[in-house]
Amino acid sequence: GNALLRWTGFLLKWAPVGICVFGAIEWQLNKQNCIKNRTLHTATQFQSKIYSLLPLRLISRCWGWLASCYVPESVRPFIFGLYANTFKVNLGEALYPDLKHYKTLAEFFTRPLRDGVRTIDADAPLISPADGKILHLGKACRSLIEQVKGVNYNIADFLGPTTWLRESKQNSNNDMNALKYATNDSTILYHCVIYLAPGDYHRFHSPANFDPLFRRHFTGDLFSVSPRIATWLPGLFCLNERVLYVGEWEHGFFSFTAVGATNVGSVQIFMDAELKTNQWVGFKNPRSFYDLTIDHGNFFKKGDLIGQFNMG
Protein backbone atom coordinates (compact mmCIF):
# COMPACT_ATOMS: atom_id res chain seq x y z
CA GLY A 1 0.00 0.00 0.00
CA ASN A 2 2.86 2.36 0.80
CA ALA A 3 4.51 1.62 -2.54
CA LEU A 4 1.26 2.37 -4.38
CA LEU A 5 0.85 5.66 -2.52
CA ARG A 6 4.46 6.63 -3.20
CA TRP A 7 4.08 5.81 -6.92
CA THR A 8 0.85 7.81 -7.17
CA GLY A 9 2.51 10.77 -5.46
CA PHE A 10 5.43 10.58 -7.86
CA LEU A 11 3.08 10.55 -10.86
CA LEU A 12 1.02 13.45 -9.56
CA LYS A 13 4.18 15.46 -8.93
CA TRP A 14 6.05 14.82 -12.18
CA ALA A 15 3.35 14.03 -14.77
CA PRO A 16 2.45 17.71 -15.39
CA VAL A 17 6.15 18.53 -15.86
CA GLY A 18 6.48 15.62 -18.33
CA ILE A 19 3.40 16.70 -20.25
CA CYS A 20 4.74 20.27 -20.47
CA VAL A 21 8.16 19.08 -21.70
CA PHE A 22 6.55 16.74 -24.26
CA GLY A 23 4.25 19.55 -25.44
CA ALA A 24 7.15 21.97 -25.77
CA ILE A 25 9.16 19.44 -27.85
CA GLU A 26 6.13 18.78 -30.13
CA TRP A 27 5.53 22.50 -30.55
CA GLN A 28 9.16 23.12 -31.53
CA LEU A 29 9.18 20.21 -34.00
CA ASN A 30 5.94 21.42 -35.55
CA LYS A 31 7.35 24.94 -35.87
CA GLN A 32 10.49 23.66 -37.57
CA ASN A 33 8.43 21.57 -40.03
CA CYS A 34 6.31 24.60 -40.86
CA ILE A 35 9.43 26.65 -41.63
CA LYS A 36 10.92 23.83 -43.72
CA ASN A 37 7.73 23.28 -45.71
CA ARG A 38 6.73 26.90 -46.11
CA THR A 39 7.69 26.99 -49.80
CA LEU A 40 5.57 23.91 -50.48
CA HIS A 41 2.46 25.18 -48.73
CA THR A 42 -0.03 25.76 -51.54
CA ALA A 43 -3.76 26.39 -51.58
CA THR A 44 -6.12 23.45 -51.62
CA GLN A 45 -8.87 23.32 -54.24
CA PHE A 46 -11.34 24.44 -51.60
CA GLN A 47 -9.19 27.44 -50.62
CA SER A 48 -8.75 28.37 -54.32
CA LYS A 49 -12.51 28.17 -54.80
CA ILE A 50 -13.15 30.40 -51.79
CA TYR A 51 -10.57 32.91 -53.05
CA SER A 52 -12.15 32.94 -56.51
CA LEU A 53 -15.52 33.83 -54.95
CA LEU A 54 -14.19 37.18 -53.76
CA PRO A 55 -15.50 40.07 -55.93
CA LEU A 56 -12.00 40.96 -57.14
CA ARG A 57 -13.11 42.40 -60.49
CA LEU A 58 -15.55 44.70 -58.75
CA ILE A 59 -12.82 45.79 -56.32
CA SER A 60 -10.42 46.29 -59.22
CA ARG A 61 -12.84 48.41 -61.24
CA CYS A 62 -13.78 50.51 -58.20
CA TRP A 63 -10.10 51.03 -57.49
CA GLY A 64 -9.55 52.02 -61.12
CA TRP A 65 -12.36 54.56 -60.92
CA LEU A 66 -10.95 56.02 -57.69
CA ALA A 67 -7.41 56.16 -59.10
CA SER A 68 -8.59 58.08 -62.16
CA CYS A 69 -10.43 60.74 -60.13
CA TYR A 70 -9.04 64.25 -60.48
CA VAL A 71 -6.85 65.25 -57.53
CA PRO A 72 -6.74 68.99 -56.67
CA GLU A 73 -3.28 70.44 -57.20
CA SER A 74 -2.90 71.53 -53.58
CA VAL A 75 -3.20 67.98 -52.20
CA ARG A 76 -1.21 66.20 -54.92
CA PRO A 77 2.15 66.43 -53.11
CA PHE A 78 0.57 64.94 -50.00
CA ILE A 79 -1.27 62.04 -51.69
CA PHE A 80 1.34 61.15 -54.30
CA GLY A 81 4.15 61.79 -51.79
CA LEU A 82 2.54 59.34 -49.40
CA TYR A 83 2.28 56.77 -52.18
CA ALA A 84 5.90 57.43 -53.24
CA ASN A 85 7.19 57.04 -49.67
CA THR A 86 5.12 53.94 -48.96
CA PHE A 87 6.20 52.10 -52.10
CA LYS A 88 9.69 53.62 -52.42
CA VAL A 89 9.13 55.33 -55.77
CA ASN A 90 12.33 56.79 -57.23
CA LEU A 91 11.08 60.23 -58.26
CA GLY A 92 14.55 61.24 -59.44
CA GLU A 93 14.09 58.95 -62.45
CA ALA A 94 10.66 60.28 -63.42
CA LEU A 95 10.31 62.52 -66.44
CA TYR A 96 8.23 64.86 -64.27
CA PRO A 97 9.56 64.77 -60.70
CA ASP A 98 7.14 67.52 -59.63
CA LEU A 99 4.20 65.71 -58.03
CA LYS A 100 1.86 68.56 -58.96
CA HIS A 101 2.23 67.55 -62.62
CA TYR A 102 0.09 64.40 -62.21
CA LYS A 103 -3.67 64.98 -62.27
CA THR A 104 -4.63 61.53 -60.99
CA LEU A 105 -3.09 58.66 -59.08
CA ALA A 106 -3.44 56.50 -62.21
CA GLU A 107 -1.38 59.04 -64.16
CA PHE A 108 1.28 59.08 -61.45
CA PHE A 109 1.33 55.28 -61.45
CA THR A 110 2.15 55.10 -65.16
CA ARG A 111 4.67 57.97 -65.05
CA PRO A 112 7.26 57.89 -67.84
CA LEU A 113 10.99 57.89 -67.10
CA ARG A 114 13.54 60.51 -68.10
CA ASP A 115 15.51 59.76 -71.25
CA GLY A 116 18.72 57.94 -70.52
CA VAL A 117 17.94 56.58 -67.06
CA ARG A 118 17.66 53.08 -68.49
CA THR A 119 20.34 51.62 -70.71
CA ILE A 120 19.44 48.92 -73.19
CA ASP A 121 22.18 46.28 -73.23
CA ALA A 122 23.15 46.25 -76.89
CA ASP A 123 24.97 42.89 -76.72
CA ALA A 124 22.32 40.94 -74.83
CA PRO A 125 19.94 38.86 -76.97
CA LEU A 126 17.30 39.13 -74.25
CA ILE A 127 16.77 42.06 -71.89
CA SER A 128 14.42 42.81 -69.03
CA PRO A 129 11.17 44.27 -70.39
CA ALA A 130 10.33 45.97 -67.08
CA ASP A 131 11.60 47.14 -63.73
CA GLY A 132 10.80 44.52 -61.12
CA LYS A 133 11.88 41.39 -59.38
CA ILE A 134 12.57 37.98 -60.88
CA LEU A 135 9.96 35.62 -59.45
CA HIS A 136 11.06 32.49 -61.22
CA LEU A 137 12.96 31.32 -64.29
CA GLY A 138 14.25 28.18 -65.88
CA LYS A 139 13.63 25.58 -68.53
CA ALA A 140 10.16 24.43 -69.46
CA CYS A 141 10.33 20.63 -69.36
CA ARG A 142 7.75 18.29 -70.90
CA SER A 143 5.27 21.07 -71.63
CA LEU A 144 5.36 22.21 -68.00
CA ILE A 145 6.47 25.49 -66.47
CA GLU A 146 7.51 25.66 -62.84
CA GLN A 147 5.56 28.37 -61.02
CA VAL A 148 7.46 27.89 -57.77
CA LYS A 149 9.65 25.04 -56.63
CA GLY A 150 7.61 21.85 -56.90
CA VAL A 151 4.47 23.46 -58.40
CA ASN A 152 4.05 23.33 -62.17
CA TYR A 153 1.50 24.48 -64.68
CA ASN A 154 0.88 23.41 -68.22
CA ILE A 155 2.06 25.52 -71.16
CA ALA A 156 -1.10 24.63 -73.09
CA ASP A 157 -3.25 25.97 -70.20
CA PHE A 158 -1.22 29.16 -70.10
CA LEU A 159 -1.07 29.89 -73.84
CA GLY A 160 -4.31 28.22 -74.90
CA PRO A 161 -4.68 26.28 -78.16
CA THR A 162 -1.87 26.93 -80.62
CA THR A 163 -4.09 28.22 -83.40
CA TRP A 164 -1.48 30.77 -84.48
CA LEU A 165 0.44 27.91 -86.10
CA ARG A 166 -2.49 27.36 -88.42
CA GLU A 167 -2.58 31.09 -88.97
CA SER A 168 1.00 31.02 -90.17
CA LYS A 169 0.27 27.92 -92.30
CA GLN A 170 2.45 25.65 -90.23
CA ASN A 171 1.83 22.06 -89.18
CA SER A 172 -0.61 21.76 -86.28
CA ASN A 173 -2.24 18.42 -85.55
CA ASN A 174 -2.64 18.98 -81.86
CA ASP A 175 -1.12 21.02 -79.04
CA MET A 176 1.69 18.60 -78.26
CA ASN A 177 2.81 18.39 -81.89
CA ALA A 178 2.60 22.14 -82.15
CA LEU A 179 4.84 22.59 -79.17
CA LYS A 180 7.26 20.05 -80.56
CA TYR A 181 7.24 21.99 -83.79
CA ALA A 182 8.13 25.12 -81.88
CA THR A 183 11.14 23.42 -80.38
CA ASN A 184 13.67 21.86 -82.70
CA ASP A 185 16.44 19.48 -81.62
CA SER A 186 19.00 22.10 -80.68
CA THR A 187 16.63 24.39 -78.79
CA ILE A 188 14.39 24.18 -75.74
CA LEU A 189 11.78 26.39 -74.13
CA TYR A 190 12.74 28.72 -71.29
CA HIS A 191 10.59 30.93 -69.10
CA CYS A 192 11.14 33.98 -66.95
CA VAL A 193 8.59 35.64 -64.65
CA ILE A 194 9.03 39.28 -63.56
CA TYR A 195 6.94 40.84 -60.80
CA LEU A 196 6.35 44.61 -60.82
CA ALA A 197 5.91 46.04 -57.33
CA PRO A 198 3.51 49.00 -56.75
CA GLY A 199 6.34 51.55 -56.68
CA ASP A 200 8.04 50.33 -59.85
CA TYR A 201 7.95 51.95 -63.26
CA HIS A 202 4.86 50.31 -64.79
CA ARG A 203 5.56 50.59 -68.49
CA PHE A 204 7.04 47.66 -70.35
CA HIS A 205 9.36 47.33 -73.31
CA SER A 206 10.20 44.68 -75.86
CA PRO A 207 12.62 42.14 -74.35
CA ALA A 208 14.10 41.20 -77.75
CA ASN A 209 13.81 41.77 -81.45
CA PHE A 210 10.68 39.76 -82.17
CA ASP A 211 7.94 39.53 -84.73
CA PRO A 212 4.50 39.17 -83.08
CA LEU A 213 2.13 37.10 -85.20
CA PHE A 214 -0.76 36.74 -82.86
CA ARG A 215 -2.41 38.34 -79.83
CA ARG A 216 -4.61 36.48 -77.37
CA HIS A 217 -6.56 38.08 -74.54
CA PHE A 218 -7.77 35.80 -71.76
CA THR A 219 -10.59 37.32 -69.69
CA GLY A 220 -9.71 35.39 -66.56
CA ASP A 221 -9.76 36.25 -62.89
CA LEU A 222 -7.96 39.12 -61.21
CA PHE A 223 -6.14 37.45 -58.37
CA SER A 224 -3.25 39.20 -56.72
CA VAL A 225 0.09 38.25 -58.29
CA SER A 226 2.23 39.26 -55.32
CA PRO A 227 5.06 36.81 -54.68
CA ARG A 228 3.18 35.46 -51.64
CA ILE A 229 0.06 34.59 -53.69
CA ALA A 230 2.18 33.27 -56.59
CA THR A 231 3.77 30.86 -54.12
CA TRP A 232 0.44 29.89 -52.61
CA LEU A 233 -1.99 29.53 -55.54
CA PRO A 234 -1.09 26.79 -58.08
CA GLY A 235 -1.66 27.73 -61.73
CA LEU A 236 -2.13 31.42 -60.87
CA PHE A 237 -0.87 32.63 -64.26
CA CYS A 238 -3.30 30.32 -66.07
CA LEU A 239 -6.24 31.74 -64.09
CA ASN A 240 -5.64 35.48 -64.29
CA GLU A 241 -6.64 37.89 -67.03
CA ARG A 242 -3.69 38.19 -69.38
CA VAL A 243 -2.64 39.39 -72.80
CA LEU A 244 -0.11 37.38 -74.69
CA TYR A 245 1.75 38.13 -77.88
CA VAL A 246 3.10 35.13 -79.70
CA GLY A 247 5.67 35.39 -82.43
CA GLU A 248 9.15 34.54 -83.50
CA TRP A 249 12.61 35.74 -82.73
CA GLU A 250 15.99 34.70 -84.08
CA HIS A 251 15.89 31.39 -82.16
CA GLY A 252 12.28 30.42 -82.92
CA PHE A 253 9.18 30.67 -80.77
CA PHE A 254 8.76 33.74 -78.56
CA SER A 255 5.88 34.83 -76.33
CA PHE A 256 5.41 37.89 -74.15
CA THR A 257 2.56 37.85 -71.63
CA ALA A 258 1.33 40.69 -69.45
CA VAL A 259 -0.66 39.28 -66.52
CA GLY A 260 -3.17 41.52 -64.78
CA ALA A 261 -3.88 41.61 -61.04
CA THR A 262 -6.47 43.01 -58.64
CA ASN A 263 -5.03 46.51 -58.26
CA VAL A 264 -3.47 46.61 -61.70
CA GLY A 265 -6.03 44.82 -63.82
CA SER A 266 -5.73 46.72 -67.11
CA VAL A 267 -3.13 46.09 -69.76
CA GLN A 268 -2.68 48.75 -72.42
CA ILE A 269 -0.70 48.02 -75.58
CA PHE A 270 0.08 51.20 -77.50
CA MET A 271 -0.09 49.62 -80.97
CA ASP A 272 -3.27 47.66 -80.15
CA ALA A 273 -6.19 50.07 -79.77
CA GLU A 274 -8.74 47.23 -80.00
CA LEU A 275 -7.50 45.58 -76.83
CA LYS A 276 -9.90 46.19 -73.91
CA THR A 277 -8.99 44.59 -70.60
CA ASN A 278 -10.65 44.48 -67.18
CA GLN A 279 -14.18 44.74 -68.59
CA TRP A 280 -17.32 43.38 -66.95
CA VAL A 281 -17.51 39.73 -67.97
CA GLY A 282 -21.13 39.22 -66.85
CA PHE A 283 -22.23 35.62 -67.23
CA LYS A 284 -19.68 34.75 -69.90
CA ASN A 285 -17.18 32.02 -69.25
CA PRO A 286 -14.35 33.81 -67.40
CA ARG A 287 -11.80 31.54 -69.04
CA SER A 288 -12.75 32.54 -72.61
CA PHE A 289 -10.27 34.32 -74.83
CA TYR A 290 -10.23 36.60 -77.85
CA ASP A 291 -7.70 36.32 -80.64
CA LEU A 292 -6.29 38.77 -83.12
CA THR A 293 -3.88 38.07 -85.92
CA ILE A 294 -1.27 40.78 -86.21
CA ASP A 295 -0.27 42.11 -89.59
CA HIS A 296 3.30 41.57 -90.59
CA GLY A 297 5.45 44.61 -90.19
CA ASN A 298 4.60 45.30 -86.54
CA PHE A 299 8.06 44.25 -85.52
CA PHE A 300 9.14 44.89 -81.92
CA LYS A 301 12.70 46.08 -81.63
CA LYS A 302 14.62 45.29 -78.45
CA GLY A 303 13.86 48.01 -75.90
CA ASP A 304 10.86 49.47 -77.79
CA LEU A 305 8.11 50.74 -75.51
CA ILE A 306 5.17 48.30 -75.90
CA GLY A 307 2.62 49.32 -73.31
CA GLN A 308 1.76 49.82 -69.68
CA PHE A 309 -0.20 48.40 -66.76
CA ASN A 310 -3.01 50.66 -65.57
CA MET A 311 -4.61 50.82 -62.15
CA GLY A 312 -7.95 49.01 -61.98
Partner: protein
Protein backbone atom coordinates in the same frame (compact mmCIF):
# COMPACT_ATOMS: atom_id res chain seq x y z
CA UNK B 1 1.32 42.95 -62.28
CA UNK B 2 3.57 40.38 -63.83
CA UNK B 3 5.28 39.68 -67.12
CA UNK B 4 5.90 36.13 -68.25
CA UNK B 5 8.37 35.41 -71.04
CA UNK B 6 8.29 31.99 -72.69
CA UNK B 7 10.74 31.51 -75.49
CA UNK B 8 12.74 29.04 -77.50
CA UNK B 9 16.52 29.31 -77.25
CA UNK B 10 19.55 27.11 -77.88
CA UNK B 11 20.35 24.53 -75.21
CA UNK B 12 23.35 26.61 -74.14
CA UNK B 13 21.27 29.61 -73.15
CA UNK B 14 22.17 30.82 -69.64
CA UNK B 15 20.22 33.20 -67.46
CA UNK B 16 22.33 36.00 -65.96
CA UNK B 17 19.78 36.77 -63.27
CA UNK B 18 18.50 34.83 -60.29
CA UNK B 19 15.08 34.48 -58.63
CA UNK B 20 14.55 37.26 -56.11
CA UNK B 21 16.93 39.62 -57.93
CA UNK B 22 15.75 43.15 -58.72
CA UNK B 23 16.13 44.17 -62.34
CA UNK B 24 15.71 47.25 -64.50
CA UNK B 25 14.49 47.74 -68.06
CA UNK B 26 17.25 46.97 -70.55
CA UNK B 27 19.32 44.81 -68.21
CA UNK B 28 20.61 41.58 -69.73
CA UNK B 29 18.49 38.55 -68.79
CA UNK B 30 20.65 35.91 -70.38
CA UNK B 31 23.29 34.97 -72.90
CA UNK B 32 23.67 32.21 -75.45
Amino acid sequence: STIVLLFEAPVGFEFKVKPGQKIKVGQCLGHI
